[in-house]
Symmetry: C2
Subunit: 245 residues, 2 copies
């Protein structure tokens, strides 16, 4: 079963070809804009063939989301292994999030689809698990950093707050701000010019609030983030390009 026939390889290739065609449609025209007829037409295959690869439209979306989350996971992984205090690694994750939302904006948009009622539910358990797993792995990377910080005695977790629960806060603030800045009708008119830098400040404040050493002022924090960005971005680009041939 290791050896695949030419035909089987062809089919496997086509699966990713479908996704390659579907992604930009979904990004620009939304779920309703992605019609199976249109997709089949652009693929120059019959609709039935598409249905041999994905049992419905929702499955295609979930497959695309899985691809995007895979990129995020890689970015996180790379951020998690840099040298230095745990707090710096935590900030590196922040930089990774910034990179992801800015330079993989489409992927970030894709990730949102999965939270839509009626897309998740109509997909197969197999694909759901793939995504759940990826999310858990991301979580594990961040929680690992927190636990390491505790071990290194750079951080004391408050009574009644597990490592994962601390992560949850960061996840929430990053996720929340990114969704809001992408979908809120009128952020600029509210006086928020540059959401990314605002979030940097909030994350720094939160870390300071937990007395996570080394405690930093905003100038220092920003400086370190810039240094991390310079160091990590080349790696990030490689990852991004690896996943987008």
């Amino acid at each position: 079963m290791v050896e695949l026939t030419r035909k089987q390889r062809e089919i496997e290739l086509r699966t990713s070809e479908i996704l390659r065609i579907a992604r930009p449609i979904l990004i620009s025209d939304g779920f309703r804009g992605l019609s199976m007829d249109r997709l089949a037409f652009q693929m120059e295959y019959a609709k039935g063939t598409i249905y041999n690869h994905f049992k419905n439209k929702e499955e295609i979306v979930l497959a695309l989301v899985a691809e995007s989350m895979e990129i995020r996971r890689s970015l996180f992984e790379q951020s998690g292994i840099i040298q230095g205090p745990a707090r710096l690694r935590m900030m590196a994750l922040g930089v990774a999030c910034e990179f992801y939302t800015q330079h993989c904006a489409d992927d970030f948009a894709m990730e949102q689809w999965v939270r839509q009622q009626g897309i998740w539910d109509k997909s197969s358990e197999k694909r759901q698990n793939l995504i759940r797993q990826c999310e858990e792995q991301c979580m594990a990377i961040v929680a690992g950093i927190v636990r390491d910080a505790v071990l290194r005695q750079e951080l004391v977790l408050p009574e009644s707050l597990g490592a994962e629960e601390l992560v949850f806060g960061f996840w929430a603030i990053n996720y929340g701000s990114q969704v809001l800045s992408h979908t809120s009708p009128s952020l600029p008119s509210l006086g928020i010019s540059n959401p990314a830098s605002v979030i940097r400040i909030h994350c720094c404040t939160l870390l300071n609030g937990f007395h996570w050493n080394p405690v930093m002022d905003y100038a220092r924090s920003n400086q370190e983030s810039e240094a991390l960005a310079e160091k990590l971005f080349p790696v990030f680009w490689t990852i991004k390009n690896r996943n987008r041939a």
Copy 2:
């Protein structure tokens, strides 16, 4: 034009009747589950009549969202006028958010619809503005508290962080955590048992991180939140029931 004919009143009444019927369908079966035929059937009116009230399905959703956001706005308003230090008022808003997500869970779910691509865009500018306005009013209430804290010298804003930008952080963490805890596949399995209390801790940490006086430890913060809840919940229930006859 102030005086409405009986017929006109009847029609106006029917508009809210449509929304009353549509909400539970949308909540339980999603946007795709809400069909105009079904809605018309349950209303015991012809489909065309529904279209006299709303020019398309998306408009119905936006109208429902506006209703829900109105409740949120009222809750915020009530939280913003309590006596005491600004920080307490800020915490009262947190309590309001908790109440909203817990006891107006459907409304919270409704609010998410508006961020969906293809729903916002297909609605009339008039309804869009209604929602934008409500969002801005909520924002204004919170920003007002921040500004008051600065005036009272209970808080010093960091260089390069406007009041609205501080608000944005809180908005993000609250919004983010609530969305995540409602839609993330497997939060409990990740070790987050009670998202609400976790968020209380993070908000408290954030406020402490900004040195917003009176600085509080988690025990005190929790105690104050409980006291606020006890004080505000009766008012909140009134608001909720007022909007749901």
